[in-house]
């Protein structure tokens, strides 16, 4: 499938790269609904330009850009960029298809079209890096020469120990490698694990030195041999690179392919896989960690982007005007023709072109894109504000807010931490779920539709425009990505959680287990019944089966039928308290309870048959309500309901009511206004029915 291997002149082959300008996930929704991820600006330059600059500077002469989602936009961007000028040392081919659903599809296409002739670089369109891969490439070639075609891939990692900013929590990987040959033996994502498990067979490689590394960040740059594309073709179930790596490692003995790694010491490489990484990589760019790729370098060679660099890493493009008393403290990049009002404090912030910022604005770790209007007295902390957003005066954006394209917020509203606002209504997702990767022309359509829906002033302010975006529960598991949140995983995974387990382990050493208090059978039975009903509710189990379960419990705990009924009543009546907490009001209580009674009526009918049962049933109801004086008003509703559901008959209720009550409290209960009315109504109904006869 690959081009005939002309080994002899392999050295002279120009280095090729495959750039995947699609993430195949919805991590950046709703932002990436309007703009593909590769084109999002990072320090005012599209991310794909960073990737292409990296590829070019590392010696790539031919790049294949694969796009799917909004491919026309990417194509358009590239055609305008310096990469498509005739002078470009890196020839860029754009290959688009709506059918790519994963990295696997792209590489299968690479194989089918026989695009690569030799070892190639594989990167995503959102990788920012200044790594010089030539050494790794040389090592890779050396390995390929030494042992023919055994090593198929060299992955490039950057040191980034736990706690380091660029350590992406999604990519919390642990790698076991051979200490000498740098061969990857085990590769695992560890974010949900407390214990790391390494199978023994990885230690049988004949080496006596292994290294387990938890301080690596996958730069998502890999040097692949053409075999990689073939392997993707052969294994059509490989979707992601993760599938590929794991598949290769697990089947190493069968396929005989190996993966090696290269750890860069001083290079920078990171993939902007979520907004947290966006934040980190942006600030690293401004702090010049990615030198020589710096904002003032204007490597993308765009007109008007040349900016000046002054101390404290303050960058200004031409035409910036700064009002009186405004301070740019440190690490600030301001795009051209942006106007900033008076008395603003700006730190660690990127502002795009043609923005207007009012007076007394405080910006910290804000990423403001182009043509944004921010009115006076606004505070923004660690948030992303997309193109054409209008922030009215007095708005406060707390950490990790996102204002997607064209949103209007305010005035005088405080957005909670993690608020995401978008012009796209979260529900429209459902309509276009089928073909959301198709193209961008449905965006206009959805815009029309959103206009019909009403903006909620509580969410966006009285003059605001936009909807609160809920990260819909996508069961998009084909990528085995995590539950996707735009900002990535929790910032600081609590290290104490580990020590807890250690504590428990420690006590385990001593074998001291505090015995749980013994419950008597009735109590246990009650718990079981509660559990059964709860499950019945959650899983929608039919009443017949519930009866079966309760009956079997009855036998298991040796409970009499009368007790079963009493307990059942008690459990059901207390159910709302269990679910909603004991503090709920009477109205809430009855509104929760009545549907339950209706739902479980067949269960009650199964147990309440004889007149005596009715009396027992009422007695236990009375018992429950006597314990909860505040909810007496609900009793009448309960009685009404069970009467209407024909669980209890009027005779029974009357008999119970007229029963000579023993305690003062139950007499008090019977004097309840509502109850008296109900009884009266019952009596009348009885009389009328008698009259009818």
């Amino acid at each position: 499938m690959t081009a005939p291997k002309a080994e002899k002149d392999e050295e002279e082959q120009p280095l090729q790269a495959v750039l995947v300008a699609d993430s195949f996930n919805r991590r950046f929704f709703p932002i990436s609904k309007d703009q593909p991820r590769a084109l999002l600006p990072l320090a005012n330059v599209s991310m794909i330009d960073y990737t292409l600059e990296f590829l070019t500077s590392t010696g790539v002469q031919e790049t294949f850009v694969f796009c799917c989602w909004m491919s026309s936009k990417i194509k358009e961007h590239l055609q305008k960029s310096k990469w498509c000028r005739p002078t470009s040392p890196n020839v860029v081919h754009v290959i688009t298809s709506d059918l790519y659903r994963s990295l696997g599809d792209v590489l299968r296409d690479v194989d089918a079209k026989a695009l690569v002739r030799s070892d190639f670089l594989l990167v995503y369109g959102d990788v920012v890096s200044n790594i010089d891969v030539s050494q790794a490439l040389q090592e890779h070639k050396q390995r390929r020469k030494m042992e023919k075609n055994v090593s198929v891939m060299t992955m490039i990692f950057k040191e980034s120990p736990p706690g380091h900013k660029t350590r992406c929590e999604d990519d919390d990987i642990i790698v076991a490698m051979d200490g000498k040959s740098k061969r990857i033996l085990h590769y695992q994502r560890a974010q949900a694990l407390k214990k790391l498990h390494f199978p023994m067979n990885i230690f049988h490689s004949g080496s006596d030195e292994f290294e387990i590394r938890f301080d690596l960040l996958d730069c998502h740059i890999s040097i692949c041999s053409p075999q990689v594309a073939e392997l993707f073709t052969d294994n059509f179930d490989y979707q992601t690179k993760n599938d590929f790596v794991r598949g290769l490692l697990v089947n190493e003995e069968i396929l005989g392919n190996q993966i090696h790694m290269h750890v860069t010491k001083d290079g920078y490489g990171a993939r902007v896989s979520n907004l947290l990484m966006y934040d980190t990589v942006s600030s690293d760019t401004i702090r010049r960690w990615i030198y020589p790729i710096t904002p003032e370098a204007n490597f993308a060679d765009q007109e008007g982007q040349s900016c000046t660099h002054s101390r404290h890493n303050v960058y200004r493009e031409p035409g910036v005007s700064l009002g009186h008393g405004s301070q740019m403290e440190e690490n600030v990049l301001i795009g051209r023709n942006t106007v900033i009002g008076a008395n603003c404090t700006i730190s660690n912030t990127v502002i795009g072109a043609n923005c207007v910022i009012g007076d007394n604005v405080t910006l910290d770790r804000a990423y403001i894109w182009n043509r944004v209007h921010i009115a006076n007295d606004v505070k923004v902390k660690q948030s992303v504000i997309c193109d054409n957003v209008e922030v009215k005066h007095g708005v406060v954006l707390n950490e990790q807010c996102v204002l997607a394209y064209n949103v209007v917020v305010g005035p005088d509203i405080t957005l909670q931490e993690g608020t995401v606002l978008s012009m796209h209504h979260p529900d429209e997702e459902d309509d276009e779920d089928e073909d959301e990767f198709l193209s961008d022309d449905d965006v206009g359509y959805s815009k029309d539709k959103t206009k019909q829906k009403v903006f909620n002033p509580a969410e966006v302010g009285s003059e605001g425009k936009g909807y609160r975006w809920k990260s819909s529960s996508l069961d998009d598991t084909e990528e085995d990505e995590l539950a996707e949140c735009i900002w990535g995983l929790a910032l600081n995974p609590d290290p104490e959680s580990d020590s807890e387990s250690e504590v428990s382990e420690g006590s385990h050493d001593l074998g001291s287990h505090p015995a749980s208090p013994e419950l008597d059978d009735v109590k246990v039975f009650q718990n079981e019944v509660h559990g059964t009903l709860q499950r019945g509710l959650d899983e929608n189990i039919s009443c017949d089966n519930l009866v079966l379960e309760i009956n079997s419990l009855k036998y298991a705990y040796n409970i009499s039928l009368k007790e079963v009924m009493q307990i059942l009543i008690r459990v059901v009546l207390e159910f709302p308290f269990q679910q909603q907490g004991a503090q709920i009001s009477t109205a809430q209580y009855s509104s929760h309870l009545l549907p339950l009674l209706k739902k479980w009526a067949p269960v009650f009918k199964n147990y309440v048959k004889r007149p005596q049962d009715q009396m027992d049933c009422l007695a236990s109801m009375e018992e429950v309500f006597l314990e909860r004086e505040t909810h007496w008003a609900a009793l009448v509703k309960v009685l009404m309901s069970v009467y209407q559901l024909e669980i209890l008959e009027e005779e029974g209720i009357m008999r119970w009511f007229k029963q000579s009550s023993t305690t003062g409290k139950s007499q008090q209960l019977r004097r309840n206004q509502g109850l008296l009315k109900f009884i009266q109504w019952l009596e009348e109904a009885e009389e009328s029915s008698e009259g009818d006869e």
């Binding site: 120990p161 736990p162 706690g163 380091h164 642990i174 200490g179 560890a190 694990l193 407390k194 214990k195 790391l196 498990h197 390494f198 199978p199 023994m200 230690f203 006596d208 030195e209 292994f210 290294e211 387990i212 590394r213 938890f214 301080d215 290290p495 580990d498 020590s499 387990s501 250690e502 504590v503 382990e505 420690g506 006590s507 050493d509 001593l510 001291s512």
Partner: protein, 481 residues
Amino acid sequence: MELQAVLMAAGGGSRMMDLTYNTPKPLLPVGNRPLIWYPLNLLERVGFEEVIVITTKEVQKALSTDQRLKTDVKMRLDVVCIQEEADMGTADALRHIQQKIKTDILVVSCDLITDVALHEVVDLFRAHNATLSMLMSKVHEFTETVPGQKGKKKAGEQRDFVGVDVTGKRLLFMANEADLEEGLVLRKSIMRKHPRMLIKTGLLDAHLYCLKRSVVDFLVHNKSVTSIRGELVPFLVRKQFSKSLNSQNATEDTEKNQKQQDAHHNFELLSTSKDEALLQLARERSCWNDHRGDMSEAYHGGKLRCYVHIMEEGMCYRVNTLAAYIEANRVVPKLFEDPPIHPSAVVSERSLVGSDSIIGPSCQISDKTSIKRSNVGTSSIIKEKVKITNSIIMNGVTIEEGCNIQGSVICNNAMIGRGADMKYCLVGSGQRIEPEGENGVAASTDPLSPPPPHPFNFSTSPPPTFLSSLSSWTRLFGHNL
């Protein structure tokens, strides 16, 4: 006194029973000195003036009578005897002598022959205020053929997995392959603290440990721990990462402290805790840190720390197998500047003794005899026309004329008959190999000696062949090989 030295010399040498059946392991001659001399010398070289020797009655007697040892070792030996039958482990032995232990201790095994700069281990112990520091070395490949064993060591030997941090000093993980059937499991919290862990196999534990005084107290109160290497060290390594040490009363460390109090060690406790407070203060005030990459305090707040010094070069042998014994005998003479031929030995001028051989005191070596790459022990008599290569002849051995001995070990007081031809044989103490042609079977003095394997099977039998009553063998070799 900073450290007290404890020498463990009560081991039976169970992995080389053939040699130790009659001679206790500490007294086995290596380069014509008893094995125990080497660790004693190691300690003396670095300036110890006193050492507690835990050993058996038999060895004690030998120690007190061996003149050469007395003149060589100037340290004061405080010999503590334990009963051989009691089957005590090394930790039991420490518990046994706890009354004598006043400070931190350095525990050495009697079978260690090394030229390590001992301060490396002690420096780790001092610098990090460690609870444990130990010595390891790269495993040596034994190149020589071992008597009774064909080829290399059996494959599939259980390896030790030792995990160290990136500096190669901090001991993070320790397990034997046998315990790792279900794979190697590490807690993520350890990896978070030490994100780069080197897992090394192929290391030899030299059984040399620096231990804190409190560990001995811990042993006193935890009688179930019997062995230092088998139980105590892995326990300490594991415990490094138990946060609960400091918070929970129920766990070992505080228990240790509490029990210390219970045991009326209040004085020591107070004095150490005073030191602790000063150290703590020093650490807080300094910008020093033991790790980089995150912002947490030095040692991540852990109080218990284990370190290991791994010898990259130099010599380190544990004489606990026959192969190691042979190898040590070959290497050791080169290290010491003793004259290869003891002045009191009588060596015929018409014999050939290679410079790579050593001849012990009062030996007699007759004419036309050649000795190459071999050690000959005290008071051995070697007759005419004997050819000895690559062999170890212990003390009081008589070798009659015309023998050809190659790659063999001849134990004390053995008698090799005339004309014997031996290759890779092991002759037990006091055995007599009858002269060629005389078909007498020597009475075995060793009831434990295994029945002679089939002659043709000789080379494949896994355990070292015990050539005790095997004169028929000798003849077999003489004629058939």
